[in-house]
Amino acid sequence: MAAETASVPATSAPAETERLRLAKAAIRRGKLRTRWLLLSPALLTIVLVGLLPLSIILVYSFLEPGTYGGVRWVFSTDAYVQFLFERDLFEDTLTFNPAYLEIFWRSVELALLSTVGSLLIGFPTAYFIATRPPSRRNLWLFLITLPFWTNLLIRTFAMMLILRDEGVINIILMKLGLIDQPLVLIYTDGAVFLGLVYSYLPFMVLPIYAALEKLDFRLVEAAYDLYATRGKVLRHVILPVAKPGLVAGCILVFVPGLGAYITPELLGGGKSLMIGNMIAIQFGNSRNWPFGSAASLILMAIVLVALLVYVRYAGRRRGHG
């Protein structure tokens, strides 16, 4: 009897720790479940509107085009071959055809130009806002984001009204008697460039502003004090400190600029084709879905490679510093 009563606490102690262990495990499981529940909307969105369509595109790019659009379920690498070569219809030989490469190159060129353009306009703008008194910065930021209140399509139509032959610029210049014939402004690469800069400028200004806002302006004073001229202060202090913002802004302008569709479509008038339009045509008039899919993936690959190169470069710089 005595031994039994004595053994009770002895056996109950491991039971207690076992129960505690189970309870802790249950809490952990509960926490894990909550975490997945909270994540699920984001995961679902990424899978449904990101990964799934991408997989479809990937599969389509390795199929043959259907006669009236769509695809035929026959494996083929023709879409990728077609990007660089032209297949002779009669002899079945391949000749190098740079037409699509040229479209890609023009797109890269235009996207780069508009990135530089937005940088040249965006940096002074961001600097201006960041040097205002804090109470007034929000007003300026609000003005920068104001264009987002209107759809990009409508904003581009507004650009057309300004640039076309009977547009605001031409009418004013003709009324002033400076020109007799309307200037050819719309449906040029210049118009596309202007449209891209206009559309993506806020994406340049905002990240640069975010970086400059954190800049300690005493650093600028310290540099002035140490014999740096204005230009040297910009080069040696402001730009290095604002660099993350500059890079983010450039990526945010270059990437969507490269795949832009509406702006080159409306302001380029189909004359200066960019990748976005070329891909759209494959899915529309040309009824070559596999080629459109392949072109989309090649575009994505270019952007990815560019970003990876940058990340590698930036990472190495940081490691050195």
Binding site: R218, L219, A228, T229, V237, G321
Partner: protein
């Protein structure tokens, strides 16, 4: 102001051999903002001469204009009126990067994207010096501030004291004619601050560069400075050596701001010039007459205030010709000494409070009980007449 300007000139004249004027500030006025209501006068008709190879301190509470004066010398602000001269040549219209003066900033303002060595070499690089010379100077500066092994570190990997040293080395590297220091020690803890005080004094001695040091810490000012200018409300109240400022404050504000002091009402009887400075006979509220030192500056006739440091006074039995008498209300022991707080006798018991500080000697206990009536011993010369 004119009185103090004259005082400053007199002190300057007394020790000409100490060197030429490094910085001359002539009737400088600085107003921030515009309009009747919004304009703030930061400096009002300030004149000051700072000598070559001098450790000069601008001392005052926050908002007194000391930092504004420093920023005017550095060139970050332009004076509304007046002239600033550096070794005789005008500075007013030069931008900061063309003035041979460098600043150590309050929060150091080290460049976060550069190493310690790059920070220190920045000024020389901007001056376009050859790389060999820059490397050589950076190495010398690192040794001077005892940071030799940290040249390759990023500045955010440094402690507060190390950042302070880098900031000093960076400002000293281009060998400026004048070094401006804007409360550089305020971000450090007490122990480090004491260390850096000695370090700064050493650096000033070794480099021979004129230091202009801004602080609100009176102890810091007294410890380090060759001369101090006490500022308040955009004006310089008194310029002098730490001893002059402490022992012979000219104004009530200066007396109050630096250390502890007793201020008593008195009546000015007659003044006399002497070799050690002008003095006057004053009658205290008790009717006792003592000899007091006169300040450099105009003193009102008749009713004046006189100041006495607690450690310059003594205790004696009540009566027997004591300068003042009072009742002991509190005894505060603080290690090296003891403060005796007395309620002075006066008309209607409103005599005010007087503090006497006595040195503690080993084995001697407190020999006065609270409530005891005591006399205050004031010798001739322990009293200082104030201008206001």
């Amino acid at each position: 102001m004119t009185g103090d300007g004259a005082a400053a000139d007199r002190t300057a004249g007394r020790s000409d051999r100490a060197g030429a004027a490094a910085i001359e500030i002539r009737r400088v006025r600085k107003v921030f903002g515009s309009g009747q209501e919004r304009a703030v006068v930061a400096l009002d008709d300030v004149s000051l001469t700072i000598r070559d190879n001098e450790f000069f301190t601008l001392l005052g509470p926050s908002g007194c204009g000391k930092t504004t004066l420093l920023r005017l010398i550095a060139g970050f602000e332009q004076p509304t009126a007046g002239e600033i001269l550096l070794f005789g040549s005008h500075l007013e219209h030069l931008p900061p990067h063309r003035r041979p003066v460098n600043t150590v900033f309050q929060q150091y303002a080290l460049f976060p994207h550069m190493t310690v060595a790059e920070n220190i070499g920045f000024g020389l690089m901007m001056q376009g010096r050859p790389k060999r010379e820059i490397d050589e100077t950076v190495r010398r500066m690192l040794a001077l501030v005892r940071m030799d092994d940290l040249a390759g570190r990023r500045t955010d990997q440094l402690s507060g004291g190390q950042q302070q040293r880098v900031a000093l080395a960076r400002a000293l590297a281009p060998h400026p004619k004048v070094l401006l220091l804007d409360e550089p020690l305020s971000a450090l803890d007490l122990k480090l601050r004491k260390e850096m005080q000695i370090e700064l004094k050493r650096l000033q001695h070794e480099t021979g560069i004129t230091f202009i040091f801004v602080t609100h810490d009176q102890e810091e000012a007294l410890t380090m400075s060759d001369r101090i200018a006490v500022m308040s409300d955009g004006a310089i109240l008194q310029v002098g050596t730490p001893r002059e400022i402490y022992d012979h404050p000219a104004r009530r504000f200066v007396a109050d701001f630096i250390g502890e002091i007793n201020i008593l009402p008195a009546e000015l009887l007659e003044t006399r010039e002497a070799s050690g400075g002008a003095s006057a006979r004053v009658r205290l509220s008790s009717g006792q007459v003592r000899l007091a030192r006169l300040p450099d500056g105009p003193v009102a006739a008749g009713r004046v205030n006189v100041a006495v440091r607690p450690e310059h006074a003594g205790l004696q039995p009540a009566g027997e010709g004591a300068a003042l008498t009072g009742t002991l209300s509190n005894v505060v022991y603080f290690g090296t000494g003891t403060h005796y707080h007395l309620e002075l006798d006066g008309p209607g018991g409103e005599g005010g409070r007087f503090v006497v500080e006595l040195q503690n000697r080993l084995g001697a206990g407190a020999d006065h009980a609270i409530g005891a009536r005591l006399g205050i011993l004031l010798t001739d010369g322990s009293l200082q007449v104030l201008c206001d």
